[in-house]
């Protein structure tokens, strides 16, 4: 299994689109952090607890999640798109092992993206806050950054599972886009209590996002919208594992023509 994961990482490292997507993900996180510190924080003025706002700025490290998701889809569905999955299954007819190795590899790639995002976001936020003459630290920031890294890694696994279930790369990205940008939002609007349970909601709780982000029908933030970090982590892990399990079952059965 270690050999299979190494083979997947070797292929990913040698693929330019992987680097491009990862770099975009890191850039996204840093850009959001800059916007948060320079635009959103001054906008919200002096209201609210300062520590929470500082943590929120650091939690922008999780904003590369969308790219981690797309990366997972591209790495997995790309094998079907380019028909290279045939080589993988010829080398390892135990297809479940191939799929598992790819899921693990996408988790590792997501982890790397998350670490890079956390490092750069941490530095940028600290520098910007210090330059503005504001306190740059608050309790719990290491947990916020660690949570961002973990959630980004899980998004990578999630994307890979999605890519195995919907082998058409464009369709998989479209489905992900429609779900995460429209369906979830609509669902949460209709039933605000669901917000903490949907994938985006649990992922946000893992990354220590204290700003709620979910808005109900009345335009007011949903009270207590997010799960505690540990619970969010478990539910997100559950989603990723369920998607991964489904991906394995489906991939083992299908003919490769």
């Amino acid at each position: 299994m270690i050999g299979l994961v190494r083979a997947e990482l070797l292929k990913a490292r040698a693929t330019r689109s992987v680097w491009g997507l990862a770099a975009t993900g890191v850039a996204f996180a840093v850009a959001w952090a800059v916007v948060d510190v320079l635009v959103l924080m001054p906008l919200s003025g002096g209201s609210g607890p300062a520590d929470g706002k500082i943590r929120d700025a650091y939690s922008m490290a999780q904003q590369g999640y969308l790219l981690a998701l797309i990366l997972g889809i591209v790495v997995m569905a790309g094998e079907y798109r380019h028909k290279t999955i045939t080589w993988a299954f010829l080398a390892t007819p135990r297809r479940g092992a191939v799929i598992t190795a790819k899921l693990v590899a996408c988790g590792v790639i997501g982890l790397a993206l998350g670490v890079a995002s956390a490092l750069l976001t941490g530095i940028v936020v600290a520098v910007l806050l210090t330059a503005a003459g504001r306190p740059a630290g608050a309790p719990g920031i290491p947990f916020v950054l660690a949570g961002s890294v973990l959630s980004t890694a899980l998004w990578g696994v999630f994307g890979a599972a999605l890519g195995a279930l919907i082998r058409n790369q464009v369709a998989a990205i479209t489905v992900a886009f429609l779900w995460f940008f429209y369906a979830e939002w609509f669902l949460v609007m209709l039933a605000p209590a669901v917000g903490r349970w949907v994938p985006t909601g649990v992922a946000k709780s893992v990354s220590g996002w204290s700003r709620d982000g979910m808005v109900g029908f009345d335009g007011q933030p949903v009270p207590g919208a997010l799960l505690p970090v540990w619970a969010g982590g478990l539910v997100f892990l559950g989603y990723a594992l369920a998607a991964a399990f489904a991906a394995r079952v489906v991939s083992v059965r299908r003919d490769v023509t």
């Binding site: 050999g3 997947e8 292929k11 040698a14 330019r16 689109s17 007819p93």
Partner: protein, 235 residues
């Protein structure tokens, strides 16, 4: 050296019966040619032997084992599939290295097979820029990576120039002379007549004829005439 034994194999895609009750053997030390018109079920049969397509009936064994149960598939069977595909952004070397890493084959084999198929000069070029002939050579290199005793090649001459076709014939004759089992599909009948020892001809998913090249041709002018006459009999 293991033989390939196909027994009463069948495959239905929905209501279409691509292959029906097909049985044949490809023996070690011989090149077995696999012939048939487009849509006859050749590729489906080869994919069933390789465990990529699940048979609806029957078995396909390599040395008595199904492909999925081979302990070390790439060092047992080398395969070139029709229109072999590569990631356009990855180099030939990365493709081969990844296969080695996944299959636990020493990475030193990469240089060997690249030289063997005369692709060493293009090893670090991305496969997206490869010609059909170069892709075919890379596919052959992939199949030889594990130095396997069994080779299953679907239209390996596709896209090769006359020199390449000659080189392939010499290579395959050499590999079978070493005692390996070579199962080869092709539409190039003149080439097949020179390369193969045994022939299996199928049409509409069923066996039309099987035997040595000499037996099948008999008193007829050549393989092309034999092939056309045999197939005319099935319509």
């Amino acid at each position: 050296m293991p033989a390939i034994t196909v027994t009463d194999i069948g495959k239905a895609f929905g209501s279409v019966r691509a292959v029906e009750k097909l049985s044949f053997t490809a023996e070690p030390g011989r090149v077995t040619g696999f012939l048939g018109p487009n849509g006859a079920g050749k590729t489906t049969t080869l994919r069933m032997i390789l465990g990529l397509v699940r048979p609806s009936a029957g078995t396909a064994l390599i040395g008595g084992r199904a492909y999925a149960n081979l302990p070390s598939p790439l060092t047992t069977v080398g395969a070139v599939l029709e229109a072999a595909a590569f990631h356009p952004g990855r180099t030939a070397r990365i493709h081969l290295l990844a296969l080695c890493t996944a299959a636990g084959i020493p990475t030193g084999r990469v240089e060997r097979v690249l030289e063997l198929v005369d692709l060493a000069g293009a090893a670090d070029r991305r496969a997206g820029g490869f010609s059909l002939g170069m892709r075919q050579r890379l596919a052959l290199a992939s199949s030889l990576l594990g130095d396997p005793p069994v080779l299953i090649l679907d239209e390996p001459a596709n896209g090769l120039d006359p020199e390449g076709i000659h080189w392939l014939r010499v290579l395959l004759r050499g590999l079978s002379a070493e005692g390996r089992t070579v199962l080869l599909s092709s539409h190039l009948l003149a080439e097949m007549e020179q390369t193969a020892d045994d022939l299996i001809i199928i049409s509409g998913g069923r066996l039309v004829a099987a035997g040595t090249v000499d037996e099948l041709i008999g008193g007829r002018g050549g393989l092309e005439q034999t092939y056309l006459e045999l197939l005319r009999g099935t319509r």
